[in-house]
């Protein structure tokens, strides 16, 4: 049976079903509803977890690191400036190989103050060694949170799950909340092998000389590479139990496409509608949704775009001085391909400006008209 809940609460239910043991968080719009609900679950006893109220996001992540080091399943949630404040500890969490799961509600960074949707906050944390999933619906959010624990605990790397501010966080959708028993079967209790144990004290995060450091980073990267096969494995298992799966990427009507839209997050849903309209009108347009940004699904992307003449990447984010961050990643995995599409990079919808079907049609029309993009970045919705 489906329940109509907002995206924030979809996160909360996913966390509760995952039988998290420690939650440490600091409120920030538009994330606050997530931990509010979780604190209610803790207070009512529905969730047997320690809820830590801390004085900043930095402390939130620090206490998650501590709790995870002793072997607890831990969770936190944040957004925007809060995520930025955690930055140093994000590196620590991944370097220490701790399977922490965090939800980030994508929101623009200030100034100017803006609480609306923008992916630049989490994409700024691209190189911190965290897995990153970008979700499209409230259901996907709930399912991804549960999957994230399983994936993280297998690869021993932390995982960040993203949802769009307001488009998901504050929007109510019908969501199937799985029953606990089946979730328990999917996600059993986990035992960390190397954990902080006062009975057998060991030194954690100590000094590693140049003699071993490169190998330890190599191992970290290998785990990310391994995640590329573990994510679909876990997703398949989830699909078998719950009937829903998402994959590393999702290719929609890409066969024989003249051009393909590359999307992430909620824009994918809007994009799908527009793709259907073009297909109905006889134009072969497809859509590729990138769900896992880290690890970046290079092989899957290359395979699905083989033979496609043009792609239009929609980035609701900006790396100032370079451009859209998804486009940048996409170009880099394609650059050595002999038969590669021309990449049109659109930066649109920053700071929560709506990306409408009209906007996406404009993107498609321009891409179809031009042989090559006239500029490296195409600002399709800028007032001129």
């Amino acid at each position: 049976m489906k329940t109509v809940i907002e995206g924030s609460h979809a996160v909360s239910y996913g966390v509760m079903l995952s039988r998290v043991q420690v939650i440490s968080a600091y409120p920030i719009t538009p994330q606050t509803h997530i931990v509010e609900k979780l604190s209610e679950f803790c207070a009512s006893g529905e969730l047997q977890a320690k809820f830590l109220k801390v004085e900043s996001e930095h402390s939130a992540m620090a206490s998650c690191i501590g709790a995870s080091t002793v072997g607890a399943r831990v969770f936190t949630a944040t957004s925007s400036q809060g995520l930025a404040l955690m930055h140093e500890l994000l590196h620590w969490a991944s370097g220490a190989r701790l399977p922490i799961v965090m939800v980030n509600v994508n929101r623009a960074l200030a100034p100017p103050w803006n609480i609306w949707c923008d992916q630049t906050d989490s994409l700024s944390q691209r190189d911190t060694g965290w897995l990153q999933f970008y979700c499209e619906s409230n259901q996907e959010v709930l399912d991804t949170v549960i999957q994230a624990f399983k994936i993280s605990e297998k690869v021993l790397l932390p995982c960040m799950v993203m949802l769009d501010a307001f488009y998901l966080s504050h929007t109510f959708e019908p969501v199937d909340i799985p029953d606990q028993e089946r979730v328990d079967r999917f996600l059993p209790r986990y035992e960390l092998k190397l954990k902080l144990d006062p009975k057998d004290p060991k030194s954690f995060g100590g000094l590693a000389s140049p003699d071993v450091f490169p190998e330890m980073r190599y191992q970290m990267h290998q785990s990310m590479e391994r995640a590329k096969s573990i994510i679909p494995e876990v997703d398949d298992e989830y699909q078998r139990i719950f009937g829903r799966g998402y994959g590393l990427i999702e290719a929609y009507r890409c066969d024989d496409a003249e051009m393909v839209l590359i999307t992430s997050g909620t824009v994918s849903s809007t994009g799908r509608e527009v793709v259907d309209q073009y297909r109905d009108g006889g134009k072969a347009i497809g859509l590729l949704k990138i769900r896992s940004f880290r690890p970046f699904p290079s092989e899957e992307v290359r395979r699905n775009l083989r033979g496609i003449p043009k792609v239009a990447v929609i980035d609701r984010n900006l790396s100032c001085g370079m451009g859209g961050i998804f486009a940048e990643g996409l170009k880099s995995v394609l650059c050595n391909e002999e038969d590669r599409p021309t990449v049109f990079s659109y930066v649109i919808g920053l700071g929560g400006r709506d990306i409408t079907q009209e906007t996406i049609s404009d993107v498609i029309e321009y891409t179809l008209e031009q042989d090559r993009p006239k500029e490296d970045i195409l600002w399709a919705d800028i007032k001129r």
């Binding site: 220490a96 190989r97 060991k202 030194s203 100590g206 190998e215 330890m216």
Partner: protein, 581 residues
């Protein structure tokens, strides 16, 4: 631990940054490069007390109401808490760190309170018989002589005190007036000294009733005969009837002689004897008492408290004037002529050098004149070999004279006539005599028992040497963490009203109520001495401070040397020193 681990292959390298072996051997205290340490430092009051009282120590005890123990603590160093609690000029209070915060602790009043609390308490019958064969003679039963005798008796020596006067006490009995020191208090403390086995032979003047030859059977002699000779003015008319020296006047009234004063009394002098004489004359019924001195009001050598009490009692002080002559009528003094003067550079012998100011002559009518312009020792009786310089017996800081076996102290050796100085000198001499008789004195020993740098010594340290630094540094106000103290005014000491004082020689200062006294003791900062406040224990972020009853210990296995305990100690009883590597 020193074994080098080499990783040759990727699979040998641990997946996460964790030590390959236990770190149980490596307690977190190894991070430390600064090390906190509990220390006992020297409170400034203790350093300032010439008698060597452990003031901080008796404050702790009295705050807890352990008055008997407080009394015994004082008595370890000083047999005269009741006397000092009344007549001392309390240099301890002048150096109290609390005066920088609000007002100095009322130490003297508390010392008196402790002594008074034991006045009627049951006495332990000491009545010790000498344990040692050596005998010591003490000449003079003033504060210095009796203190020396007391400590020697406590150390087990047979001591005989020779006193020329008919009862013991020296200046305490024949000099200081009863309104400052009731004789019952003095008698009580002297009888306590006697109970330790000290024998006091009164009416026995060395040089008259006995000679030094008669003291051959004593292995050491302590000379403490004070300064009982008044300086003369040597001006015209000073032999007239009705002109007395201050000491003579005080001696007479304290031995019960009737002195006929008349109505107008003039006292010449600005020191403590002059003040005592003026205030006594006022109590004996003189209508008008005037004090005239060479010094300006600020330069007067009498203790400031005493001067202000003098003025309250209506005694006029006429400063900066020198007497020219006394004029009599029928052989009895009637008038004194003065001239205004200011003080020039002191004369080569150290005496005052008044410069008269022409045209400022005046005169006072007087029925009775008291001259108190300085007191000096009478040393005519001492053996010639004993070295005398500028009228004082020459001794070193511990009271040793140039002649083996001869020691001296008190006003006979010092120009600064204070009771507490005399007590300190008597104590040092007792120790010097003990060491002399046991043949082991050294400068090193003196250093070990010093309290600070002002010459004070501690017998407690002598008998119970401290671990570590024998003479730790004195705590300054800057080292006190005043965040932990509330501003609280010093108690005011109750006094007789002026009307009540006129009626005889009743003690002016009254005792304290118990509650007030204990609360005042609670104002003590306890500079440099742990009093178990728990701050270090509470603040240590690593739980490295262990508390065992009233003691603390640092578990250096876990102490990171953060210094928070050091910072938060209210009284600077923790040191932070560099870790030895």
């Amino acid at each position: 631990m020193t074994q080098k681990i080499v990783f040759r292959r990727l699979q040998d390298i641990p997946p996460i940054a964790v030590s390959t072996a236990t770190i149980a051997w490596n307690k977190t205290g190894t991070w430390r490069y600064l090390k906190p340490k509990y220390v006992i430092k020297t409170p400034p009051c203790n350093e300032a007390c010439p008698a060597g009282n452990d003031i901080e120590g008796f404050m702790v005890l009295s705050r807890e109401g352990r008055l008997r123990e407080a009394w015994e603590k004082i008595k370890e160093e000083n047999p005269f808490p009741g006397v000092c609690g009344r007549v001392c000029f309390h240099p301890c209070e002048s150096s109290c760190n609390r005066k920088e915060f609000d007002e100095a602790l009322s130490i003297q009043a508390l010392e008196r309170y402790i002594a008074d609390s034991q006045f009627n308490a049951e006495r332990e019958g000491h009545q010790r018989k000498p344990r040692r064969k050596e005998k010591v003679a003490v000449i003079g039963s003033g504060p210095s002589g009796l203190t020396c005798a007391y400590h020697l008796a406590r150390m087990g020596y047979g001591v005989t005190v020779f006193e020329s006067f008919s009862s013991p006490g020296g200046v305490l009995r024949i000099g200081i007036p009863e309104y400052r020191l009731p004789r019952a208090v003095l008698d009580h403390e002297i009888s306590d000294i006697e109970s330790w086995g000290v024998e006091i032979k009164t009416n026995t003047q060395i040089g008259k009733d006995m000679v030094f030859e008669d003291l051959k059977n004593y292995q050491a002699i302590f000379i403490a005969t004070g300064a009982h000779q008044s300086r003369r003015l040597n001006i015209k008319g000073d032999h007239l009837e009705g002109v007395f020296s201050g000491l003579e006047f005080l001696r007479r009234i304290h031995t019960g002689e009737r002195v006929s004063l008349g109505e107008r009394v003039v006292v010449i002098g600005g020191g403590n004897v002059a003040v005592d004489a003026s205030r006594s004359a006022w109590r004996l019924g003189a209508r008008r008492v005037q004090m005239v001195c060479l010094e300006s009001r600020e330069e007067m050598p009498a203790f400031p408290d005493e001067i202000s009490e003098t003025e309250k009692e209506g005694i006029e002080i006429l400063p900066s004037a020198m007497p020219l002559r006394f004029t009599g009528d029928g052989g009895r003094v009637k008038r004194i002529d003065f001239i205004g003067a200011k003080l020039g550079e002191p004369k080569p012998d150290g005496s005052l050098n008044p410069i008269p100011i022409p045209g400022t002559e005046f005169f006072l009518d007087a029925d009775f004149v008291i001259t108190a312009v300085g007191e000096v020792p009478d040393l005519s009786y001492i053996p010639q070999e004993v070295s005398v310089h500028k009228g004082l017996i020459q001794v070193d800081e511990m009271g040793l004279s140039h002649i083996k076996g001869y020691f001296a102290g008190g006003d006979a050796t010092s120009p600064y006539h204070t009771v507490v100085g005399a007590i300190g000198a008597g104590k040092k001499a007792a120790l010097a005599i003990h060491e002399y008789l046991q043949g082991g004195w050294s400068r090193e020993k003196f250093r070990m028992i010093q309290v600070g740098e002002k010459g004070t010594i501690s017998l407690n340290k002598y008998f119970h040497p401290l671990e570590g630094d024998a003479n730790p540094p004195v705590v300054s106000f800057g080292e006190i963490n005043t965040d932990y103290f509330e501003h609280r005014p010093r108690i005011s000491i109750p006094q007789l009203s002026i009307d009540q004082r006129r009626d005889g020689f009743k003690e002016v200062h009254l005792g304290l109520e118990k509650e007030i006294a204990l609360e005042e003791a609670g104002r003590c900062f306890n500079c440099g001495v742990c009093n178990g406040c728990d701050n270090c224990w509470v603040y240590c972020p690593d739980f490295a401070v262990k508390r065992e009853r009233d003691r603390y210990e640092i578990d250096y296995d876990y102490c990171k040397g953060c210094g928070i305990c050091f910072e938060e100690c209210p009284r600077s009883a923790i040191l932070l020193e560099e870790e030895g590597r």
